[in-house]
Every structure is written in structure tokens, then in C-alpha cells.
């Protein structure tokens, strides 16, 4: 497969846009447009996430923030998962498969504090355009988690493996990554369409630092997996006695 060219996300492209408008144009509008095609390519659960979900206690209730097409929502029949996503089109696909889906913004989650036994957020935080917004999103993930519970976060890595389809410039963390809809999948005018999605690629240790600066998280595991950095963190505070059954 040929190397997909990556453009740097320079000021020239976005000079007059506020942070949320950048995300609207280069994240939200894109996912709405590509949802069905995107969903077709998102079907194989990543083993680390699968293992995390299968390790949870029976009766656990958790959230998948940025659940997309709901790929992870039905993995473990002994837990209950709620998916949320900014894209109504992806939530519709998720719900059509029998899952619970809520349309909402990860910067401002509509969930009660400390109501979930676990939280996952897979390939989401890297779509926020500033440090402050990424930090705010992480704080929301921790807010809705019970004290003592586990949170799993995956983000795209700046450091890509040799087998990766994409090659990133090591100096450039803020990039456009193209999504190509082939001509035969584009029902409207039978031409190939390319959408640019915004990504902030994470350096080694950057996700850990972000999580640690919440002041309420303890990192349990941090690793590199398939061109992503991931962290499993535990929210501070004593375990509720009901968690251990």
C-alpha cells in the first residue's frame, strides 16, 4: 500500500478558526460525512482493549467515550456499556446494532460524577486541537469514573512503526491525516473524495503526563501498541466495597 501523504496542520489552513471551529471542520463534519465507510473499516477489536473489557467484574457499568460505531460495546456480555460520540451518524450505526448510544461532546459529558465502574476512550483525545482541550477531555473521563476504578485511553503515536501505512514527520505533531473514500464507494458523483482529519500525534510519555497532571490518577500500565500509545490509569480514592464480589 502506498504511503499516504500527511500535511502539517499549519496556521495558513486554519488562521481564522477558533479551536472548536477547527474541530467542527476537521473532525466533526468529516466523521459525519465518512461515517458509513469509516464504520465498515472499524470492526476488529484491538486485543488490549478486548482484554481490558473481559477482565472487568460481572455487573460492571462503563462508558466508551467516542465509541464510534460501537465496536467495543458488545464485547463482554457480563458488563453493561454506554457509548457516547459527537457524531450522530456513527451513534445511529452503533444503536442499529443494538447498543446504547448518546450524542454528546467529550469536553462536557452529560453523566453524573463517579457513576461508572470503568471508562474507555479509544482514539479520541488526539482530535482535540489544544493542550487545554485535551486536558479537559481527560478530566471528564476521570470525573465520571468511580474512585478506585480503571480508565483506558488510546491515542495515535507520533512514532510510527515501519509497517505503518503512514509516515509522520517527527517534528510535526499537529497534522491532517487524509481519509479517502474511493470512487466506487461514493454514491453521489462516483469520484474519489479526500477528507482531511485533524490529529494531534502524541509523543512518548505525553499521554502519561497529561493524565498525571489531573492529580487524581495513578498510571498502572503504559505501552505502545500498533502505532498508538495507551495508558491504563486508576482513579484515586478507595475502592467501593461493592466492586469486589
Amino acid at each position: 500500500m502506498s504511503i499516504t501523504p500527511i500535511k502539517a496542520f499549519t496556521e495558513h489552513d486554519t488562521v481564522s478558526l477558533t479551536d472548536d471551529k477547527k474541530e467542527q471542520k476537521y473532525v466533526h463534519d468529516v466523521y459525519q460525512a465518512i461515517a458509513p465507510h469509516f464504520s465498515q473499516t472499524r470492526y476488529k477489536p484491538w486485543p488490549v482493549v478486548e482484554q481490558f473489557l473481559n477482565s472487568l467484574d460481572i455487573g460492571s457499568i462503563g462508558a466508551d467515550i467516542g465509541c464510534g460505531n460501537g465496536k467495543y460495546l458488545g464485547i463482554n456480555k457480563n458488563i453493561y456499556m454506554v457509548g457516547s460520540d459527537r457524531s450522530s451518524k456513527l451513534i445511529e450505526i452503533s444503536v442499529s446494532r443494538g447498543h446504547e448510544g448518546i450524542i454528546c461532546d467529550a469536553l462536557n459529558l452529560p453523566f453524573r460524577s463517579e457513576c461508572f465502574d470503568f471508562v474507555i476512550s479509544i482514539a479520541v483525545i488526539h482530535h482535540f486541537t489544544t493542550f487545554e482541550r485535551r486536558f479537559a477531555a481527560i478530566k471528564e473521563l476521570f470525573r465520571i469514573a468511580r474512585p478506585g476504578s480503571y480508565i483506558l485511553i488510546y491515542v495515535w503515536a507520533l512514532e510510527q512503526s515501519n509497517e505503518a501505512r503512514r509516515k509522520f514527520d517527527k517534528e510535526q505533531q499537529d497534522v491532517f491525516v487524509p481519509w479517502v473514500i474511493p470512487a466506487d464507494k461514493n454514491n453521489q458523483d462516483k469520484k474519489e473524495i479526500i477528507y482531511n482529519r485533524y490529529y494531534h500525534l502524541f509523543k512518548k510519555g505525553e499521554l502519561d503526563e497529561l493524565i498525571e497532571s489531573t492529580g487524581i490518577a495513578q498510571i498502572v500500565k503504559t505501552d505502545y501498541d500498533k502505532d498508538n500509545w495507551y495508558v491504563i490509569a486508576r482513579k484515586e480514592g478507595s475502592e467501593n466495597e461493592i466492586d469486589k464480589k
Binding site: 455487573g59 456480555k77 450524542i103 461532546d105 452529560p110 453524573r112 465502574d117 489544544t130 479537559a136 461493592i242
Partner: protein, 134 residues
């Protein structure tokens, strides 16, 4: 949307921090979709619910077969009834209204839309900047 999910939701309009849970249900259309009964799973999940909020919400939509407090002895009949209400009853259409600020969140085709416009949403980045200045 099932009632178990509704139990987790609160109003998140900027400044709406008290009496924002549970959201009141109006104009609901319900559907029953049967799924496999898993008593051990249900019994383990039970303590995670805010039972008072769950009961008052069930009452709002005409479900009055549940006790005001969780019984000490939980038998299979109780669990089967709960399974029906918690996991098989879906709110397909309706709206959720905040008792505090009256904001309405729509439910369409079983999907709640909890997006807020700019004025209603908490400006997280601003909140962070203000916190640093203190």
C-alpha cells in the same frame, strides 16, 4: 435508551449543578425489546443504580410495580420484573427535562441528544485558565 442509562444522566448546562438529576421524562413512547435474562449480572449491577432516581423515573412513565426501597431478600420474580423494566424497556421518543434549569434534551429513535449550544456549555478551556490565575 434504557432506564439504566437514564440513571447515569444529568443536566450539564453551564451553572446547573444542583437538582440536575434525574432528568424528568415527558411525552415518552416506549418499546419492549426482549433480551436474555442474566440474573447474576443483574444482581451485581443493582447496587450501581441510584434506586430512588430509578423508582421516581419509572413512576413517571407509568411503571409502578417496583418497591420504593430495595428489598433485603431479592428473589427471581423480583429480578425478572426488574430485567423487563431496566433492560427490555426502551424509550424510543420523548424528552428529558431538567428540574433545575428546565433545559430539554430530545430522545429520537432511541437516541438521546445531549449536545448543548455554545452559551449553554461549560467553557472548559476558560475554566482552566481562570483556575490558573487564582
Amino acid at each position: 435508551m434504557r432506564l439504566v442509562v437514564h440513571n447515569m444522566l444529568q443536566c450539564h448546562v453551564k451553572g446547573c449543578n444542583s437538582n440536575n438529576f434525574p432528568l424528568r421524562l415527558f411525552d415518552v413512547e416506549l418499546e419492549i425489546h426482549e433480551i436474555e435474562f442474566n440474573p447474576q449480572f443483574l444482581q451485581s449491577l443493582l447496587p450501581k443504580l441510584d434506586w430512588n432516581a430509578f423508582i421516581s423515573t419509572a413512576n413517571q412513565i407509568g411503571i409502578t410495580s417496583l418497591p420504593q426501597t430495595l428489598p433485603e431478600e431479592i428473589d427471581e420474580d423480583f429480578l425478572k420484573n426488574l430485567h423487563r423494566i431496566l433492560f427490555e424497556t426502551h424509550i424510543m421518543q420523548g424528552k428529558m427535562v431538567c428540574s433545575n434549569c428546565s433545559h430539554e434534551y430530545p430522545i429520537k429513535e432511541g437516541i438521546p441528544n445531549m449536545l448543548l449550544n455554545e452559551e449553554e456549555a461549560e467553557e472548559e478551556a476558560e475554566v482552566e485558565a481562570e483556575a490558573e490565575e487564582d
